[in-house]
């Protein structure tokens, strides 16, 4: 049973005091300032007057910025959906692997996760750029095809045009999947691992096929895990800065890039602050939806 704080006031103060002080001063206070700024406007070059105006929020939902919000949510949703489709079989395979294989597969999934985000993004740039490995492979195939065509006496194929794989929305989504796949696989695995395997065996014994078992038994039982995997992937994808910045083109900006521009270049802090808080509210809404959904399923604790 937990002790009442009154029974050992000195210990309580010593243990809670410093971390709470740190949390308030170096986290809550900065956030509160940004929140206050979102109701202000630039006053001169460096000062910001907090006037309680909603002008910044009104500007943030103008079509230009609203489109970026919708696009970010859309990109994050596509990323999350594809991560789920790609990651679910992986999690399933790990769940039913032998103990030794399980350890190795989990390590293999987690290792990229420990590797620096910037390095992983950079590795993707090297693969996707016009003179990257993918285009090099395609060029080689193209030339092979050209030789074959010449041998068969067909029209020559012409010069190889490298594909533009970088600086577009495709690259951003690919990059986000690349970075966030482990976020999806790990919660899925921990949900699937807790399943009662005899239920699956019973379903298969009673004549249901693998697909039917999967969708009627496994997915409903693993729903809380799926929901938390979706949330854990969706939130960072929604606020992604680095991936759209490095892999995206001029039309693939996401919310975080707009926020960064307001603070670092456009020097419109109040507007950037309003955008930040809108992003934060979107995050909280996503968490709330997940919390409500997982309360409905009896397995969720």
């Amino acid at each position: 049973m937990e002790q009442s704080w009154k029974q050992a006031k000195a210990v309580f103060a010593a243990a809670l005091g410093p971390p709470l002080f740190w949390l308030v001063l170096f986290f809550l206070v900065p956030l509160a300032i940004v929140w206050a700024y979102s109701f202000g406007h630039n006053d001169g070059l460096t000062d910001i007057a907090i006037t309680g105006t909603f002008k910044n929020y009104a500007r943030a939902i103008e079509p230009l910025y609203l489109k970026i919000f919708i696009k970010s949510a859309w990109v994050a949703a596509i990323t999350t959906g594809l991560c789920l489709v790609i990651g679910f079989p992986v999690a399933l395979a790990i769940t039913f692997a032998s103990d030794k294989a399980k350890t190795w597969l989990l390590l293999l999934i987690m290792l990229p996760f420990w590797t620096n985000l910037l390095i992983r993004t950079y590795a993707l740039i090297a693969v996707l750029r016009t003179e990257g490995y993918v285009n090099m492979g395609l060029e080689w195939l193209w030339k092979g095809g050209g030789t074959l065509a010449a041998l068969l006496g067909l029209q020559p194929l012409g010069d190889f045009q490298p594909l533009e794989l970088l600086h577009n929305n495709f690259a951003v989504i690919l990059g986000l999947i690349y970075v966030h796949l482990p976020f999806m696989v790990l919660p899925l695995y921990s949900a699937l691992d807790r399943l009662d395997k005899s239920l699956l065996e019973a379903s298969l014994d009673l004549g249901a096929g693998h697909m039917r078992t999967l969708f009627k038994i496994v997915v409903p039982l693993a729903l809380p895990g799926i929901a938390s995997g979706v949330l854990i992937t969706f939130i960072p994808a929604l606020g992604a800065y680095l991936t759209p910045d490095l892999l995206g083109g001029p039309d693939s900006q996401m919310i975080a890039n707009v926020i960064e521009r307001q603070f670092k270049r456009a020097n419109d802090w109040p507007f950037g602050a309003a955008m930040s808080f809108l992003l934060m509210y979107m995050t909280f809404i996503a968490i709330a939806i997940q919390a409500v959904l997982s309360r409905k399923t009896p397995e969720a604790k």
Partner: protein
């Protein structure tokens, strides 16, 4: 069973479709990284066709003062913020585990905030804070000039440490604490001799997590760093913006290898310390 080697109904890993899927996923995850590492040894500036083995880009990277300084900064920040995060995280975990007090749900919620708030929001909060409230003095000597970044890193790492430590403490038998007290141990001794040994594995895990989070962080550092406090990710970012060079490949390879070694050591340490912590509990 008809054939001894036929996969059982639930041995999904032994079906070829599953194996092909897994292989494709792992190629997707690893091919870019392996290509990056392999081409750091490639003797060609264009860095696309294999021309021969060389170590010259490692030499170049190691002689790049800016890069080395950034690397040193990153390691210093990670080390200091890990120590602070583990201390603060363990303290708040202990307080939340042991006591009930008014406002506990609020503290719980506030502690979860740094974990869920988008990085960019925390980044701008730190930028504003260090620009308006606590301007970090310019021109301080190393390592004091890194203070602002260290503070920011501790703020987002220590809640993660707290989560790990709390998970571990939930398996602690409170009767042990009572027994220690009955046998005459004071608060300090109880914490040092009974609670800390039980906490130890989670402290190692938390430290590893805090270190990696700090070493990995780009966005928050990007908003907190000044021109003379560049960390490794920020430096690589500025290099990558211009072009893909073998030098960056070499520097990245060094960091990847370092992370892999660190993870391996930590996993090993965690395994053995978890085992000894269990035995220690039985002995006393």
């Amino acid at each position: 069973m008809a054939k001894r080697n036929a996969p059982g109904p639930l041995e999904y890993l032994r079906r070829w479709q599953m194996q092909a899927w897994l292989a494709a996923v792992f190629i997707f995850l690893y091919a870019p990284l392996i290509a990056l590492m392999a081409f750091s040894f490639n003797d060609s500036r264009r860095n696309i066709v294999w021309k021969g083995f060389t170590l010259k880009y490692y030499e170049k990277a190691l002689n790049n003062d800016g890069l080395i300084e950034a690397f040193g900064n990153s390691l210093t920040i990670a080390a200091v913020s890990t120590v602070l995060s583990v201390a603060l995280g363990a303290m708040i975990a202990l307080a939340l585990w042991r006591f009930r007090f008014p406002g506990k749900p609020a503290v719980d919620g506030a502690l979860a905030l740094p974990i869920v708030v988008p990085e960019i929001c925390m980044g701008v909060a730190m930028l504003v804070f260090f620009a308006k409230v606590l301007p970090w003095p310019q021109g301080l000597g190393w390592p004091l000039n890194l203070g602002a970044i260290i503070i920011a890193h501790v703020s987002f790492s220590f809640p993660f440490v707290a989560v790990v430590v709390r998970a571990r403490m939930s398996s602690f038998n409170r009767e042990m604490e009572e027994a220690a007290r009955d046998l005459g141990a004071g608060e300090f001794r109880t914490i040092r001799d009974v609670i800390l040994p039980h906490m130890a594995p989670s402290l190692v895990a938390g430290a590893l997590l805090a270190f990696t989070l700090s070493l990995d962080d780009f966005v928050i550092t990007f908003f907190t760093a000044g021109p003379d406090t560049v960390t490794f990710p920020v430096k690589v970012y500025s290099m990558v913006r211009f072009s893909v060079t073998p030098e960056v490949n070499a520097a990245s390879t060094i960091l990847i290898v370092l992370t892999v070694i660190l993870t391996a050591v930590a996993l090993k340490l965690q395994g053995s310390s978890a085992a000894t912590a269990g035995h220690g509990g039985e002995k006393s």
